[in-house]
């Protein structure tokens, strides 16, 4: 790196997302046009963004998403297999070669909840993974999980229990449980 005054990659991210003020944008562009190093940094930020897009399209990112995000993927032609068991209920599920995304929709009353975790458990209750402090919008009544489809494809028959857990300083409180009975297609 030979640039004496390199632009913070976070600022380059802001630039790429058109979130800088016109003055700051001008400053960044003038710098980039005279700086090979920062040009490469911007290229790497764009490459990272493109890599994230590719992974998201592959359906292998385990993460909480929004309805709007799924709608966008749907418009791009991706096929989502969705399961929405009721709270306390169970659902038989699978995944086929035609599916691009595997979605769990977990209905729950989230009113008054400040911090929310999502735990993926064995039927015995042992936690396999916990998504801590997941983002959710007040007023919505469901959490949407994009489950890594590659994991489901590799899995044999399995039972996965998802638990939405309200977290406070004092204790954890299970809001609802959802059982997914997976069978390979």
């Amino acid at each position: 790196m030979s640039c004496a005054n390199p632009i913070d990659p976070a600022i380059l991210g802001d630039y790429w997302l058109a979130e800088l003020s016109p003055t700051d944008e001008l400053t960044v562009e003038e710098h980039i046009f005279g700086c090979e190093d920062c040009t490469q940094q911007l290229q790497s930020v764009i490459a990272l963004a493109e890599g994230i897009r590719t992974l998201a399209r592959q359906g292998n990112l385990g993460m909480v998403v929004t309805r709007e995000f799924l709608d966008r993927l749907d418009r791009e032609g991706l096929r989502a297999r969705e399961y929405a068991p009721r709270a306390g209920g169970s659902v038989a599920c699978t995944v086929t070669a035609k599916d691009d995304l595997l979605i769990g929709r977990l209905a729950a009353d989230l009113s008054g909840i400040e911090e929310l975790d999502l735990a993926l458990c064995d039927p015995s209750g042992r936690e396999r993974r916990r998504f801590r402090d997941i983002p959710f919008r007040a007023g919505l009544s469901e959490v949407i999980l994009n489950y890594p489809i590659g994991l489901a494809r590799q899995s044999g028959p399995d039972v996965l229990v998802m638990k939405l857990i309200a977290v406070t300083e004092q204790s954890d409180r299970v809001l609802a449980e959802y059982t997914f009975n997976h069978t390979p297609s």
Partner: protein, 150 residues
């Protein structure tokens, strides 16, 4: 200079082909200007090129006819300068190391190239919070991708 023009085009036109066309057009205009003696100080060629980029993008947005004329005149395709693709397995691993909020914010932001307001609204967070989370996540991702801990 061509990669920088392309990045400018990608940023402002959000289209690979339009960015490639911009490279072609701006380089041709720059060469024309140099031949005509309009670029007096070669030490400031970057500023000239940036100014030309701005002007052409403005014209494109206005649906200017000059772009079409130039593209018809100089149709041979420009070579692409694609960004080096990141190691997707490593990127998936690094994304997996982020906190849940960071992962949701960074994926939803960069997937849809959404501004903070849209992601903030979707996730029930403030604009400023989204920006802070995104900055932190981007830093951790880059560190992880370069071999450090996320």
């Amino acid at each position: 200079m061509a990669p920088r023009i392309r990045l400018y085009g990608l940023r402002h036109l959000r289209d690979e082909q339009a960015a490639a066309d911009l490279v072609q057009q701006v380089l041709m205009m720059t060469i024309e200007s140099m031949r005509a003696g309009k670029v007096r100080d070669l030490g400031k060629i970057e500023s000239f090129v940036l100014g030309t980029c701005r002007m052409v993008v403005l014209e494109i947005r206005r649906g200017g006819a000059r772009r079409e004329r130039l593209l018809e005149q100089y149709l041979p395709p420009v070579s692409a300068f694609p960004e080096p693709a990141p190691d997707l397995d490593k990127l998936a691993e690094c994304l997996g190391r982020l906190a849940e909020r960071e992962r949701s914010v960074v994926v939803m932001t960069f997937y849809e190239e959404h501004r903070s307001e849209a992601v903030a609204d979707a996730l029930g967070l403030s604009n400023e919070n989204i920006r802070v989370i995104r900055h932190r996540a981007l830093g951790r991702l880059r560190k992880c991708m370069s071999g450090g801990a996320a």
